[in-house]
Symmetry: C2
Subunit: 311 residues, 2 copies
């Protein structure tokens, strides 16, 4: 930490993976309901999720924190407690940091850059899918957006008292799917993969585009939590949250139909739901299309492509 | 660029160097006098300077730009023109980027993370100095602070019309000393090195501390530009700028006395002034001390350790 740069090694013959991500106050988090330790954990984990999305192993983290000069020392200390706890969980070494102050009461801007590695053959790109591949998603969708709604309604107490408290916890303290991503990568089970950060309504078209394919998704197969089911029994926008809420940090991947059993066996081993939600298709027109269909196979027009403030 | 991470290779057996740095609007630059292309160039070059400070080779850059939603497309385009021009100059590939928007009129926060490489034996740390080593600095000191003052007095026209226009240019568009740093590293000419980003009044104590030594600097040997000489003939704070102005992005390094001629030969070859300004000494007390002395060898009390807004 004393030098101009961190000097580190990556494994011989390994590919270096790197990604940079920002959490901006009042855009990605609010000090009124995010405990500083959880902001610190999330700052690390959104970056870990990018490494997961390619089947890699996270190694090193660099932080660039821009904060108003008026910020409490205790805030910074708690933020680092969260950063360190997430780093410890994933065996990541914090190798660099830069703190700058903004004048006045400007919002914080927290940027993390993660470095990881993978064997060249283990990396899973978005571009590797073929027509006929099954589309899978891990865990459940829309919980982060539901949790945000819980926080907006109930404030900070939502984490313990909201009917959607598991969703609140997923919003404030998301878990990247690192273990299953590594296992999928090492066993060559996926043809393409990415993390779900904006919601599948915008993430899947991204994957389809890189693979130069179209896709069809069965809306009835989208995996939802019990809390989302409860919410959907009362409110109309649950489906939008599942498609476009974003920040779920689940994995979206495609696999050959013959790997179906192996994927389900793996899911059971990891105690994580893995759901087939659709299929990749040849692109019949010039442009990539992702269709969403209902029980009868009829196309449903999805207008909302992601909450604007998440893009 | 289409995937969650950039996947890149570094040379076999090389050490990975990484560093992250932030330019915050109204702290490190002002839109009233910084052309966007030069902000883009500076964002790259402050990171290149960190790689220079260790004798490495820059390879890849990741940017995280946080800007108000109201920002002009043309601003972003010009910023990237500057980023690309600096990347081209140093053979750097821009491998990742993240743009997030801040609400309202909040100031921009621009973070760059650079990745580079070096052979393990070529890396120059701050910790390698020995007592008796000569302290060198490249180029001239204080020009960036002088340029900032020129901008504060004359506004944007200072770049072409100020009596300190070369200093203004050094402030807005600093040049990292990459070439000479690489040559110094490959020829094992320095025992320790760093870039001068905060001013030697705070950077040299940092180097001395890492080397567990003290140091003495001859104030009369500090290299100044013609413009600084002109300024000092009229104003009293030139020496403070040279010591604590910061953002000069010169190299501060130590070398064995027997390498003196080789260093001067190299400086001539690179057409860059390299000046011996002092010497490393054993630490006689428990703590590192950096003394500044005048012509007569008498200690001068340096109170100002760096402009607060640069720290």
């Amino acid at each position: 930490m004393g030098d101009d740069c961190a000097a580190t090694l990556i494994g011989a013959g390994k590919v270096l993976l790197s990604s940079t991500d920002t959490l901006a106050e009042d855009v990605h988090f609010s000090l009124t309901y995010s405990p500083p330790t959880l902001i610190g954990r999330k700052l690390v984990n959104i970056s870990v999720s990018d490494i997961s999305g390619m089947g890699g192993v996270p190694l090193f983290l660099l932080l660039a924190l821009t904060m108003p000069g008026t910020i409490d020392d205790s805030f910074v200390k708690e933020l680092y407690t969260g950063v360190n706890s997430a780093c410890r969980e994933h065996n990541i070494v914090l190798i660099g940091g830069n703190i700058s102050s903004t004048p006045g009461e400007n919002p914080m801007v927290l940027t993390s850059t993660i470095l990881g590695e993978a064997a060249p053959d283990d990396i899973i790109y978005r571009s590797g899918a073929s027509a006929g591949d099954i589309i899978y998603v891990t865990g459940t969708l829309g919980d982060s957006a539901l949790g945000l709604k819980g926080l907006e309604i109930d404030g900070p107490t939502a984490l313990t008292r909201s009917p959607f408290r598991e969703a609140v916890s997923r919003h404030l303290d998301p878990s990247p799917r690192l273990n299953i991503a590594k296992t999928i990568a090492r066993n060559n089970l996926a043809t393409s993969m990415m993390d779900v950060s904006d919601g599948i309504a915008s993430d899947l078209p991204g994957l389809a585009k890189e693979s130069n394919l179209s896709a069809v998704v069965d809306l009835n197969k989208l995996p939802h939590s019990k809390e989302m089911l409860l919410y959907m029994s009362k409110e109309a926008d649950g489906l939008e949250m599942m498609l476009a809420g974003g920040e779920d940090y689940e994995l979206l991947f495609t696999a050959k139909p013959e790997n179906k059993n192996e994927i389900q066996r793996l899911a059971k081993e990891e105690d994580l739901r893995v759901t087939a939600i659709g299929q990749m298709e040849e692109t019949t027109e010039d442009s990539v299309t992702v269709r969403f269909v209902d029980n009868n196979g009829d196309e449903v027009d999805i207008k909302k492509k992601g909450f604007d403030h998440y893009l």
